[in-house]
Symmetry: C2
Subunit: 124 residues, 2 copies
DNA sequence: TAAGTGTAATAGCTCGGATAGTACAGCTAA
DNA sequence: TTAGCTGTACTATCCGAGCTATTACACTTA
């Protein structure tokens, strides 16, 4: 239940971190279709963040069809295709990769970079 | 001379865009050791940005040893090792890649992504 | 009924980023 | 020497995104 870990100091806004974290949990299978999301107030309390911020994150998630919210009931994971959900995360990656490529960095260097990083994450 | 193109609407701050653009130009060989950077006021006027913002970018570049500034003379490209300069750009890429990996996206997908992107950029 | 849910609305704070303006000192070419 | 360029420093101000604080309402369920 210690799901959502947020970095308050990060440059990426909290509501966006929640968004990404949700997507991540879905990809990893820790959140499945129709699973109930933590309630706005509960998550708000858990990570010490204003309820409005949670609401904003949930609104975004619902807008993208990743969750659905029922007034008085709660918020739940929608039926989603994993590929499309992953795209929301990959959009960030694409942007960074494109930046690097346009800066004149060769694709092979980037690939090397990924391999190195993936090994490290496996160890950890 | 239409070097620095800046996206005023971007989420990344202008001074950071200037920083990256400078690194990019160095990597591409369009800026070489001892080449003179556009003057603070000139660049300020060219891209319609406050001089202070340019100064901030140049200060960062100098702090990282990428350029050197001589009061009354101008700012010039320092002697730098391309690898180290590229690292400043790759730091962004690493962060994005690591995010994706930690979210459970497989390395092979990321590699595919890079290949796709690099083909597109070659066409363009 | 009570306690939980999402949702809405308003007001305010904070901080990074950017602007505006002025000033000073160093360099260089006319 | 002088005029015009350079970097640099400083202060004051504005702006907007992000977040907080608070209250309120309608819905659902035990």
């Amino acid at each position: 239940m210690v799901f959502f870990e947020i970095d308050l100091k990060s440059r990426t806004p909290i509501y966006e971190q929640i968004y990404k974290k949700t997507v991540e949990l879905i990809i990893k299978g820790e959140l499945k279709e129709n699973d109930q999301m933590p309630s706005v107030r509960a998550l708000s309390a858990e990570i010490s963040v204003n309820p409005n911020t949670i609401t904003k994150a949930y609104a975004l998630l619902e807008k993208d069809g990743i969750i659905y919210s029922l007034s008085g009931r709660g918020s739940f994971v929608a039926k989603v295709e994993l590929e499309k959900v992953a795209d929301f995360l990959l959009a960030d990656f694409d942007r960074c990769a494109l930046d690097a490529l346009e800066s004149g960095i060769s694709p092979s260097i980037l690939v090397d970079r990924i391999n190195t990083l993936s090994k490290k994450t496996d160890i950890t």
